[in-house]
């Protein structure tokens, strides 16, 4: 990932850590320590902005306001003041997310990735997860080009998982939204359907992961850059 990120943080030590963390994730970064300097930059050249609220030169929310005047770039607010007023005001001014200090580097990265996450590739009703292709219009599934015969319920379960690829979907939600409550029954029936689906998907069946205490998740395609 080579997104260009603007970091506006006045604390030297914290700023260095964030910079190091983001560099390790291969982000391209510009770090500003002054609010007034942040007011001068063009926000449109960045894919995401990390903005501290307590800044010298200009208040963070004023910087946010200026950014929103010209750009819809995702803005993640950093705040040491765990005050509702700040959060609500920031969201009203167009902030996309906020991370309250103290935070872990991983937590910040997760929030950034969530904001930078590209939607699952969908074209003309087709969902592609690596070699797994789902045609929602034709209600057909292929793995590495080979057609897989799925029942109605199996197909709907796979589509439901694939539309939130990478995120867990609860058994309750799947039972309520996919199974016919008058015919298919409950959680046990769902598990049977999932088991059959995995078998039919062959090697791609491993993509359908069981999530402890929750339900199921369709694992996202492996990022080639991570495996490199």
């Amino acid at each position: 990932m080579t997104a260009k990120i603007l970091l506006v943080e006045d604390d030297v030590e914290l700023g260095k850590q964030i910079v190091d963390t983001l560099h390790r994730e291969n982000f391209e970064l510009l770090w500003l320590r002054d609010g007034s300097a942040a007011l001068q930059v063009d926000p449109q050249v960045f894919e995401l902005i990390i903005l501290d609220l307590m800044l010298p030169g200009a208040y963070g929310l004023d910087v946010l306001k200026r950014i929103r005047d010209t750009s819809d770039v995702p803005v993640v607010i950093l705040s040491a003041r765990n005050e509702t007023t700040d959060k609500v005001r920031a969201l009203e001014l167009g902030a996309d997310d906020f991370v309250t200090k103290p935070f872990w580097p991983e937590e910040l990265l997760a929030r950034l990735h969530a904001r930078l996450r590209r939607p699952t590739l969908q074209r003309n009703g087709r969902i592609e997860i690596g070699g797994l292709q789902i045609d929602t219009s034709a209600r057909q599934v292929t793995t590495d080009g080979s057609r897989v015969d799925l029942t109605r319920v199996e197909f709907d379960l796979l589509v439901s998982l694939s539309r939130r690829s990478g995120a867990a979907v609860s058994r309750t939600w799947l039972v309520d939204h996919v199974l016919d409550p008058h015919r298919e029954g409950g959680v046990r029936t769902l598990d049977v359907h999932m088991s059959r689906l995995r078998k039919k998907l062959g090697a791609y069946g491993k993509l359908v992961a069981t999530v402890w205490g929750v339900g199921y998740r369709l694992e996202p395609p492996v990022d080639p850059s991570k495996t490199a």
Binding site: D11, E13, T84, K87, K101, R163, W212, V214
Partner: protein, 549 residues
């Protein structure tokens, strides 16, 4: 019991004994007055009239039943006082040794003799009329029987009504009296020996006190040195009227007091209302001072006390605001270095070779403590809001699914360091609720942190948000060590630490779950705890979702 009723009861409680005491004193004074007048009367008849002469003249026959009243008709000097008459009177003469020439004279009463011996010129004793008759009252009984017989005779002979008294037995007066009834009318016998046996007294002795009186005369050496008389005294003919008068005065007094208490009670009520109103406004509104009496001074005293309370409240509020500000500033100041510390720990853990298992564990433990410190600071901030009386809970529309994602992202790093898998599931559509995003996030965070912190290597935590109709259900489930069933309901209690929780982690404080419970309660949401199907704890939040405008 209100003030007016208390006042009435007090007046009644005090008034009744006073009325009775007054009546008793009045009766005693009337008796003394009667005795004094009888004394004067006998002295005048004996000493100044012809009493002593008559006695000395025929001491053998002197005295007898009716003799006392007979003195009023003796030809002796002095005014006649009709009120001195005694019912069933008798009069006897004794020498200085208390012996009488008259054989019919009763024995001289011992108590009267003792009084005379004690150097008194005269003595008197009031006998209780309700008690059985003493021997000394014998003559009284006898005479009463005679009186009744005479009354019957007088009623049957209208001419006799002119008489002021009926005949007496062997008194000097009687012997010279013209009051004897006609012989053909069969008058009652004047001879005591012919008289019927004295009847049991009926009403007289039950209504009138019985007086026995003795007097030392100037005839010290003669047979008439001591005069002794007995009879029932009508000392208080207007008793009933006076009785009613007493009660009338008492009742009037009661009425006046109660009527007079009305305005006072009314003002006290107004003062009470004013004081309550002042208390409701934190003593910002003063108590109205009306007039310049004791109640007005009481109102002024309330205002003085109210001012002091107001000052105290203000000082407490200032101190609380100062403390809150201090907590906020300190929290802010600590958060940045704590974030840096967490970053260093993360980097340190990443740099350690996988061979250094113990070192990695130590770093993970240090990270867990740093995470816990951050949580404590956030909870301090939450408590300062929850316990601040004037804190207005925010009522913003917030995305509960985003909140859950933030909470999971917050605890995921520390869970991963402890080899605990944390997962979550959301409904797929934005879920909105109304509330204070900071407090709600802290509440959910506390529960998730609790599930992570009190879990073990290889453990799991699941956070599930579901929506049904207009309600949400947020469940936090873990498979940590089981808690005592008795302990689970107590977990939200402040500072509660179950025994099993203590063994799982001795530094565990109940503050986090208590805050979560309070936050949910303030939002109108519910928080329930139960043993999870995986053996750990399951905390369930439920509430109503909203549709944003």
């Amino acid at each position: 019991m209100n003030l007016r009723l208390k006042l009435a009861l007090t007046i009644i409680a005090i008034g009744i004994p006073i009325v009775f005491a007054t009546e008793k004193v009045r009766g005693e004074m009337a008796r003394r007055n009667l005795v004094d007048r009888i004394h004067s009367h006998i002295v005048s008849r004996f000493e100044e009239g012809s009493g002593i002469e008559a006695c000395n003249e025929d001491s053998y026959h002197f005295g007898g039943v009716g003799s006392f009243n007979g003195f009023f008709f003796m030809r002796t000097r002095g005014a006649r006082d009709e009120s001195l008459r005694l019912v069933g009177d008798s009069l006897w003469a004794y020498d200085i040794g208390f012996g009488s020439d008259n054989p019919e004279a009763p024995p001289f009463p011992e108590d009267l003799r003792k009084q005379l011996v004690d150097k008194k010129n005269f003595a008197s004793v009031w006998r209780d009329p309700s008690k059985p008759m003493s021997s000394r009252a014998y003559w009284g009984q006898y005479f009463e029987a005679e009186r009744k017989r005479w009354t019957r005779y007088a009623n049957s002979n209208p001419d006799s009504r002119r008489r002021r008294s009926f005949p007496t037995n062997r008194s000097p007066t009687n012997r010279s009296s013209n009051n004897r009834p006609p012989s053909n009318d069969r008058p009652p016998s004047n001879d005591r020996r012919d008289a019927p046996k004295p009847e049991e007294p009926e009403d007289v002795e039950k209504q009138l006190p019985f007086l026995e009186f003795a007097l030392l005369t100037s005839d010290e050496a003669g047979p008439c040195a001591v005069v002794y008389l007995t009879g029932w005294a009508e000392i208080d003919p207007d008793s009933t009227a006076w009785w009613w008068l007493s009660y009338g005065i008492a009742a009037t007094l009661l009425g006046v007091v109660l009527f007079g208490a009305g305005p006072i009670v009314r003002r006290i009520r107004m003062l009470t209302e004013d004081v309550n109103a002042a208390a409701e406004t934190g003593y910002a509104q003063p108590v109205r001072v009306r007039g310049n009496d004791e109640i007005a001074r009481l109102a002024t005293a309330f205002n003085t006390a109210g001012d002091r309370i107001k000052d105290h409240i203000q000082r407490v509020a200032d101190r609380e605001a100062s403390l809150r500000q201090f907590v906020a500033n300190t929290t802010h100041d600590v958060m940045i270095p704590l974030t840096v510390l967490q970053g260093h720990l993360t980097n340190l853990g990443a740099r350690l070779s996988n061979d250094l298992v113990d070192a990695k564990k130590d770093v993970a433990k240090a990270a867990a403590e740093a995470h816990y410190l951050g949580s404590i600071l956030q909870n301090l901030s939450a408590v300062s809001k929850l316990e601040h009386s004037d804190y207005q809970l925010r009522d913003d529309v917030i995305r509960l699914d985003d909140l859950v994602e933030r909470v999971v992202a917050r605890h995921e790093p520390i869970a991963r360091k402890g080899n605990i898998e944390i997962s979550h599931a959301l409904p797929g559509e934005p879920t909105f609720v109304r509330g204070d995003v900071t407090l709600l996030e802290q509440a959910v965070s506390n529960v998730v942190h609790n599930a992570v912190r009190y879990n073990e290597d290889g453990g799991h935590v699941a956070v599930l948000l579901d929506v049904h109709d207009t309600n949400f259900t947020l469940r936090v489930i873990d498979d940590g060590k089981s808690l005592s069933t008795d302990d689970i309901p107590k977990l939200p209690e402040r500072r509660f630490r179950g025994q099993s929780a203590r063994t799982r982690n001795p530094d565990g404080l109940g503050l986090g779950l208590h805050i979560a419970h309070e936050v949910m309660r303030k939002h109108g949401f519910t928080m329930t705890l139960q043993r999870s199907e995986y053996g750990g704890l399951e905390v369930v939040f439920t509430g109503t979702i909203v549709t944003p405008d």
